[in-house]
């Protein structure tokens, strides 16, 4: 992209009018389908034993759930801004926004570790009951997605201003990374509502 076209609206990639890489979107949709199955399994289990689920739900610390939601929403807002800057070919600003995404997102890992630690310290673990099985596994799988997201962010921060990387490639991968980061964000919001907020009985 030349200086003249730097502020022009971005062109669709590969003939598709979707941000980022179409293959990454396939991955995201497949992953969200897997989480949809997780949610259905959870709801089916909850319908069988509403009292166990409700008692267990009240044992979760809402403050951690809320803090994690705010952390990821803030981080997601910076990522959205990074993608907008990349679309305007403002690579330095895009890089700074991604650093802000990383810095504001990292506390999610700390908060999650503290929450799990508190649960384990109280003798609540993976096999305590069905609710906590789902709680640890779903939040654990989500955490794995978060870690992958952090690695992706580090790669994108390294790539954002690299002269050797073509600008359309930079934009495609920043948008793809952004879409992935928003998926992490979105999945957490659903997990938060399902595990912490929804009354079962």
């Amino acid at each position: 992209m030349t200086a003249d076209t730097a502020n022009a609206p971005r062109q669709p990639h590969e003939g598709h009018d979707i941000p980022g890489d179409s293959g990454v979107w396939f991955f995201i949709i497949a992953d969200m389908c897997a989480f949809a199955v997780f949610f259905l399994v959870f709801m089916a289990g909850r319908a069988q034993a509403p009292q166990v689920y409700e008692t267990s739900r009240t044992m979760l610390d809402l403050r951690f759930g809320l803090a994690n939601t705010l952390i990821l929403l803030t981080s997601g807002a910076f990522m959205a801004q990074a993608a907008r800057e990349a679309q305007k070919a403002q690579w330095q600003r895009a890089r700074l926004m991604m650093i802000a995404t990383l810095v504001t997102g990292l506390p999610f890992g700390v908060s999650k570790a503290m929450e799990w630690q508190a649960k384990l310290a109280h003798g609540v673990g993976l096999t305590t009951n069905e609710f906590f099985t789902y709680y640890f596994i779903f939040t654990g799988v989500h955490f794995l997605h978060f870690v992958i997201g952090i690695v992706v962010l580090l790669v994108l921060i390294g790539m954002a201003e690299k002269p050797g990387v073509a600008e359309d490639k930079r934009l495609r991968w920043i948008e793809s990374g952004g879409a992935y980061w928003h998926m992490v964000d979105l999945l957490w919001i659903v997990l938060f509502a399902m595990l912490y907020l929804m009354r079962a009985a």
């Binding site: 890489d21 179409s22 293959g23 990454v24 396939f26 991955f27 497949a30 992953d31 897997a34 199955v37 997780f38 399994v41 289990g45 993976l126 096999t127 069905e130 099985t133 596994i137 799988v141 794995l144």
Partner: protein
Amino acid sequence: MMTVTQETTIPDTRYWRFCAWMGPLFVAVFYVCWGLLGHNFPPFPPETPAAEVAGWFRENANGVRLGMVIAMTFAPAYGVWGYALAKVLERSMGVGSDNLIVQLARLGAAWTTITILVPTSFWLTAAFRPETLPDWMIEMLYDMAWLLIDLAYAVTSVQLFALGIGFLADKRSKPLIPKWLAWYGIWVGFMFVLECVMPYFRNGAFARSGILNFWIEFIIWMAWVPVLTIYAIKATGRIERGE
């Protein structure tokens, strides 16, 4: 540093299609022989009493023997398929056969063959002389085989990730293997991580017979093989035309 770019010569593709068809053949044979004859599709849930599992093995010993012998005979078909895909991968990436990603794709397929052969021999052992084995021992062999075949997931993930990453490196405007399929393989590799919690559960979605750790995990892998084969065979035609 020397980098190999897009190959321009037409390779000898004589056996590529034959070897590629070994993948769907493996899936079909494995489903019938290991899955249906061996009572593994779906498996006995872990909470099934040992006497029930042992009783079934005693009654159906000949069927299990036949199933496992054929499953073991056809296990290398998975490796043969993996090698055929690695040839397509070389052309897709425009690299030689000594490329690290190509080698990992081959290695993952070859290792997967071993992780199919070994547990299959445990099920066969349970059916070899079930009349003299105590119930708990047959149950143990059945459990041991399932723990190995499920927890060896990472070996197959090596193949899934290598093929996925390699196919994504295709510089063609229309890649030999579509991007969505490359990403699908990577996603399957990640999904396999759920098997890590399988040893903790004797019932429910994460048990070896559960909706997530059996039905979804096995079906997404078994579907990947024939779909990728069809695209690999199409890609072979394109490679022969010098695309």
